[in-house]
Amino acid sequence: MLAVAVAVAVMAPLAQAAPKRIVALTPFTANTLVGIGVKPVGIGQTLGGQKRLSKKLDGVRTLPLSHPNGPNMEQLARLNPGLVLSSPTWRKGAPTMRSLDIKVVMSDPDRIAGVAPEIRKIGKVVGRRKQARKLAASVKADIAAARKGIKSRPKVLVLLGVGRTPFAFLENSWGGDLVSEAGGDLLTAGLDEPGGFARISDEQVLKEDPDVIIAVPHADEDDIPGITKYMRDNPIWKVTKAGQNDRIYISNDNSLLQASTDTGKVIRSVRSRFLKN
């Protein structure tokens, strides 16, 4: 009897703590949820780049997102969620969500090393600790495997956006950290700006002479050829090793822009497509 009472006492809060209706605003949180066996009632629209959502999310209601609050609050309320997994990008909308009696948890790893802990955190919040630990462990192992056998560490410049003055990814950005972990020696190593991006002087680029330049533009498929040509014609980059050896690449999915659960796959892709190490 006592055992049952204790079990109920322990299980009850756990049962309370596992909300049934969950909305995941980012691809990372959405993919993590299905990875631990939870299907959200709503997901956020994927901004920028191609969709990389799990097939298991097909048919789930997609909410359009806009700055700075994220989803339209009325649409969100209609879904009647108990929990929203959000990211700091949409932090301005959190108070409104909380006032609607919705629990809001921020989860957006900004470094590779943060992926596993965040997966576990999500698992804890939705009451799927065991599954989350398993997923986190497998993701961690996949990342480690993806990083095996790095043969060289080319100097890499990673750039965001298009235009005459693109921003360089720093070490404290998702993409910067990922490329770094994939074996790239970031040209911007040592710089640390809030936000993770900064305009880097072209003089520095010339002096550092990168082996590889990766550009992450904000654009659709059809825009890629034009952007590629423009970047390869840049008179400054042309004279770097990257330009001379035709190693200026465009990365058009958002894999370098935000965290994902298939990080290992992304690292492998970066290594084979761009770093060739």
Binding site: L47, G48, L65, S66, H67, L160, G161, V162, G163, R164, T165, P166, F167, L191, E193, F197, A198, R199, I200, S201, D202, E203, Q204, L206, K207, D209, P217, H218, A219, D222, D223, I224, P225, G226, I227, K229, Y230, D233, N234, P235, I236, V239
Partner: protein, 328 residues
Amino acid sequence: MVVRRTLVVVAAAAAALAAAAVSLALGAVDLPLSDVIDALTGSLGEGSTRQIVLELRLPRTVEAAAVGAALGVAGALLQGALGNPLASPDVIGVTGGAGFGAVLILIVFPGSIALLPVGALAFGLLAAGLVFAIAWVGPDAGGVGKLILAGIAVGALFGAGTTAVLTAYPDRVQSAIFFIAGGLSSDGWRELEIVWPYFAVGFVAAICLMRPLDRLALGDDVAASLGVRPRLIRLIAGVGAAFLAAAAAAIAGLLGFLGLVVPHVVRLAGGTSSHTFVVPVSAISGAALLMAGDTLARTVKAPIELPVGPFMVALGVPLFLLLLRRAV
């Protein structure tokens, strides 16, 4: 009086030369001065130093000088033609139009990114054209009040267009920010090659307008009685200013402040509104200010490049306030 004016001209020229020298000598990468000089005189061999000096710093310095001069002159032309101290390239809608054109390409048609200066230029001129078309029909055609109101309306229209585009593509906003904040890029000679004819037309128009603009000083009636055609002069001044400002925006983003404040500083320093003084000295001073501001923007937090706007304000406003206090 003439002595004072001569002093101001000499001071401005000296400042411009100094700013140019500093702009060439300093940058994100520390280069010994002797190397910089060697690179400029052609006696340095191939290498990154030569590239940095000749293909980064030199075009950038020239661009800064051209844009600074263009904006200074555009402001002087407009303030003279409209007889209004608040006139600047923003007022004839050019800045708003150029901003819209640039954002359109950066965000909606990024595949055509090579056409960015063309887009900014085209829409800048289109906006100015709209302003002139509106202001030149109906009663009081070409009158100052009408021109200013039309400029504000058209500027607001394109500004709203820009906001709409940014809102529709929120994830691409970052691409546009640097343009909107205003700043030069190290694009070598690429962009200058596209826009230099527009600078040329604008500067030539400015030279031809210096004396006629003086004759507008006592009002349209006096000007008309002297055989001067105030509305025609206003139109040519507007067109010249539009060309200069649109070309400037095409390569340096939105830097309206220069066009507004530099002519005032020049007038206060020289103690005269005569355009044969104000126009050339605004050109020299604008060039000096932007070269100095750009050098700071490139070096203060090297190797990170900051937008140039705040540095120009930091340099220009104290000087302006100082002169303003003395002038009363």
